[in-house]
Subunit: 185 residues, 2 copies
């Protein structure tokens, strides 16, 4: 059900095509919701059928035609009603954590290597978030227009999560190293 609303959120401020929506899901919204074109196109059709969005076809020269969608008043109404709704606690389902659960069975150097690799990936993601953050420059969350507030707040959330994940990785690495020195040489 959330995909509908994720799409509506993006169409609330802009008129977009399925292709452009797909790209947005890879970038801006991409750090807490993801969807591929195969999901997006059918959902757009359903949203239009339900009258929550309206589409128009734009013919282009030298390029395939496209359909641009914008939110309808009913769509906006439904979106706002949903946003105010309480959310269930979402569970982070992380395959990597299942592996960490097994680190006690593993040789310490193997565990340390796997940990270093994962930490590196998260550091890269953190860096990419920082790059987006730089785009906000010295924008003040107290006075910035409402259109950007959500993007700013969620980005800060993403940064906070990645920071503490990386910090935890460092801590685990230290523990593994010291265990290696104390216990099994």
């Amino acid at each position: 059900m959330s995909l509908r609303f994720a799409i509506l959120s993006l169409l609330a401020n802009d008129e977009l095509s399925g292709y452009e929506l797909t790209r947005r899901f890879e970038h801006s919204v991409g750090y807490f919701w993801r969807a591929r074109s195969q999901q997006i196109y059918p959902e757009l059709a359903r949203l239009e059928e339900d009258g929550l969005i309206r589409g128009r076809t734009v013919e282009q020269v030298g390029r395939p035609h496209k359909r641009l969608f914008r939110i309808s008043p009913e769509g906006r109404e439904r979106l706002l009603a949903w946003v105010a709704t309480p959310s269930p606690l979402t569970l982070v389902k992380d395959e990597f954590m299942v592996k960490v659960w097994c680190y006690g069975m593993l040789g310490l150097s193997t565990a340390a290597a796997a940990m270093a690799e994962q930490r590196h990936q998260h550091e890269e993601r953190l860096a990419s978030y920082r790059a987006i953050e730089a785009g906000f420059e010295r924008a003040d969350p107290l006075t910035m227009p409402g259109d950007y507030l959500g993007a700013y707040l969620t980005l800060q959330g993403g940064i906070a999560m990645e920071q503490s994940f990386v910090a935890w990785c460092e801590r685990v690495q230290t523990i593994l190293e010291r265990r290696g020195r104390v216990g099994q040489p």
Copy 2:
């Protein structure tokens, strides 16, 4: 595919029934992987068929019989091979974040209320993790037996994540309050 290995991880140190596994997925492993009985029983059957676990039936008085499973040598081998494998960066797919994305469109008091509610849920989860942590008492991660290391490390990860999530919530609440005072009264 990860469910297989999550089950194997739990059967690596203990001999458990499907029922007991279901309970473990609600508690110990529950903060980074979840599975219900409807998934677990068929998977146990498949694991046994593939020779990665072995089961035996235990007749009980006044209670239904149960099947206890333990990992096989092949199962352990496969598990360890998988654990050393690099993990893809997992995406946190969070419905609540989609809502925060829309906070700019919402009245500030509505947004603040939704935020407070979510924060409260995470504070409760953090408290439950702290309670589990207390069970480790003053156990030293440098010298604790390997059987507990994974549980300890993942728990620390869960605590770190919840802490920084709650901290982010506080920050957002402050921003929303101040915007309320400065902008729309």
